[in-house]
Symmetry: C2
Subunit: 287 residues, 2 copies
Amino acid sequence: MSKKIKQYTIGIDIGGTNMKAVLFNGEKVVADYSLATPKDNLEKFMIMMNALIEPLQEKAKEDKVKIKGIGLGMAGVLDSSRRQVLNSPNLTIVNKENIADKLAEKIGMPVLMDNDVNCFIKAEARLGAGKKFKNIYGFTVGTGIGGGWWINNDVYGGATGGGGEPGEMIIDFSNEIGLEEAYHKLTQGNPSSIAEEAYRGDVLAEKTFQELGNILGLALANIVNLIDPEAIIIGGGVVESSDLFLSKVKKVMRQHIESSETRKKIKFLKSKLGEYAGAIGAAMLME
Amino acid sequence: MSKKIKQYTIGIDIGGTNMKAVLFNGEKVVADYSLATPKDNLEKFMIMMNALIEPLQEKAKEDKVKIKGIGLGMAGVLDSSRRQVLNSPNLTIVNKENIADKLAEKIGMPVLMDNDVNCFIKAEARLGAGKKFKNIYGFTVGTGIGGGWWINNDVYGGATGGGGEPGEMIIDFSNEIGLEEAYHKLTQGNPSSIAEEAYRGDVLAEKTFQELGNILGLALANIVNLIDPEAIIIGGGVVESSDLFLSKVKKVMRQHIESSETRKKIKFLKSKLGEYAGAIGAAMLME
């Protein structure tokens, strides 16, 4: 017996490179669509959001199923009301903008917003690699670096909704270099092209991925020593090149975990829902 | 009407320099006692623990009040059962020892154990500087550096009981230098003597405290970006010299907090219960 689907939700994952949207029936993706993220001006951004949503609305119309609303996963720091983007380093046009209300007005549907990695970890915890765990840290490596934490059956919000963020973590105090900055220096904002070079055997590119493994491993050890999760789930575009550096990440992380018990027990997993994980979690905001 | 006190608990805070004990009536300290921590061998350590407890047992006898048991706050990483010390960097004689059972056997009373900074933050949250808050990170600077986190009306334990620890936080990835290590390099294991020199106007000692303020501020920013607490409560021996560096800690921390909302709202407080805060929290383990 399959229960009758009464409504769909739309989930949109706004990344620094692409924006991905899904039409979701509460259990699985009914349709998906992706476009490059417009980064020049906000008006164009809103128009392309509309273009991203239209095919999904068509599909819902065909299926004769109502859309309840839109969930928006946004890279960057949001305010505690989850309506405004305070700071999105890789998509500065949305900074200080009340994107949730703007989109709701444009489309005529209710809109809820959360951080993109919060959406990612929610989807993975409920339907993906984290189903067996109660305390999971989600870590994404793509255009930028993001984090989100699943505990007590919910995304951890913190006092002002700003928790989980690893990007500003200072990993070189004498030069005041943060994780995100070190990541950008290493990958020059284009990790996939460096991955291509590494696959072609370029020694410098291979070395870059080893260094990347080193800083990500250290950052994850810092996080594990603080929040002691059962599992880490890694996602984002760079996971596709994971064989280049994930074993290094794991090794360095374990070396720097303080508790021998944690070191033994912690699980290190790859995203199971793939590139639409964040959009699925965004769709779940509307449930 | 004051309710009749039916029983006492003993709390012991084992630090890298001193061990401090209190006789606690559930609301306040009835008697306290402190001894230097023996660091050469475990037998001597157990004998001095006994010597630390005896005067408190005498006092309870005088008052004709029964002692329910002993709570032990221990610097370092404990196993998830809270019976064994896995790794205490500043008191290596207890490593891999089941201190809780050893003490229970020696004294003939039940013993519960937790990390010393977990005890500190529990006491401050319930009776001290944190009474108004629900989400508080406790940070202690003494012989070593420790951390503990109060959330959902309890100390955060994590998956294996190892959460909250900042000491291993890597803050210089190229040289793989952790916070605890950088702290020891700066203070040479004797922060109070450097504080004395700084008070006497020694320029080098003053500079050391400024650098200390810098690394502690960066470490706290890393922590705040991850767990987004309402307040930070700072404790430990170095707080006595706090005018030398706390303003620097605060300034650097705020500079590196990612969310502008968090930056504005977060409270930075000093311990209210003073040097016996950890022992009071240890006594609370037995309640």
